[in-house]
Symmetry: C2
Subunit: 137 residues, 2 copies
DNA sequence: CTTAGACCTGTGTCTAAGACACAGGTCAAG
DNA sequence: CTTGACCTGTGTCTTAGACACAGGTCTAAG
């Protein structure tokens, strides 16, 4: 299988496959013409990678997991520990986005009733520069 | 003012100040020793940048806004239009994170009751590789 | 057999927003 | 004058691929 075939068969892009290959997560054989040749083993390997990405693991995580399993060890403990970390990070980012969304949405609605102003020497845009202060008041 | 002074006075890092300077958002004078010298105008300019970043504008957005205001025009219409875009993006990412958080959390709790398994030729980790399928069942 | 065109390949570069490393410069104390 | 602490600018690194590009491959027509 060539790179684009593999990618299409699992609904991803050739560039992603190339990226995983560059990192050593996939190890295709070299075809005579220099093209990379992917076997069925690579197909299930890629399937694993995509599942893990979909669950929030980073590519570095996946590399670590694969390394562990290639040593013959069970990767399950590592997997549980990694997802705990990733979930905590996701939770933090989620809260941050929640707060940001609120701020943006309140800014947007407030700004719609405010007039335009020309910039001055020390003010680029009064909408932005007065936003936090108004909030305090 | 030197870069670190400016940064500390507004609670950011010297690297950020250098970054904004590199992009031309800040235009310090050159001191005799080659160091960059920031004036009071730069202080309010940086204050503006930090406020805008805090509201979810990208650095590229901020550059555009500053350019507009340096032409003497009011940046307000641009600011309103940009925040609408950014808010939509944020909303999308927020929904994606919400879904991801749910998936991760359900994976974590399910995996805690599942046993470890050694890898096989076509399976790296059964926790991950069976997750979607179990969900369907 | 040759040629044209369509498609595909690997490699290298680019992204956002800074963080980090590092060689060298500056400054105050001794 | 020198030591050491701190500071500076520049250059490289980060994620997870997307994109550009020169060249290779393959199929169909002549």
């Amino acid at each position: 299988m060539k790179v684009a075939e593999l990618a299409k068969s699992l609904g991803t892009t050739a560039d992603s496959v190339r990226y995983y290959t560059r990192l050593g997560l996939l190890k295709p054989a070299k075809s005579v013409n220099g093209y990379k040749s992917y076997s069925n083993k690579e197909v299930s390997r890629l399937k694993f990678i995509l599942s893990a990405r979909n669950l929030g693991f980073s590519v570095a995580d996946i590399k670590e997991i694969i390394n562990e399993s290639e040593d013959g060890k069970s990767a399950c403990p590592l997997v549980r520990s990694l997802i705990k970390e990733r979930l905590e990070e996701t939770e933090k980012q989620f809260q941050a986005m929640l707060a940001l969304r609120g701020k943006m949405s309140s800014a947007l609605s407030r700004w719609e009733e405010m007039e335009d102003k020309a910039p001055t020497a020390n003010m680029v845009c009064h909408l932005i520069e007065n936003f936090e202060q108004i909030k305090k008041a």
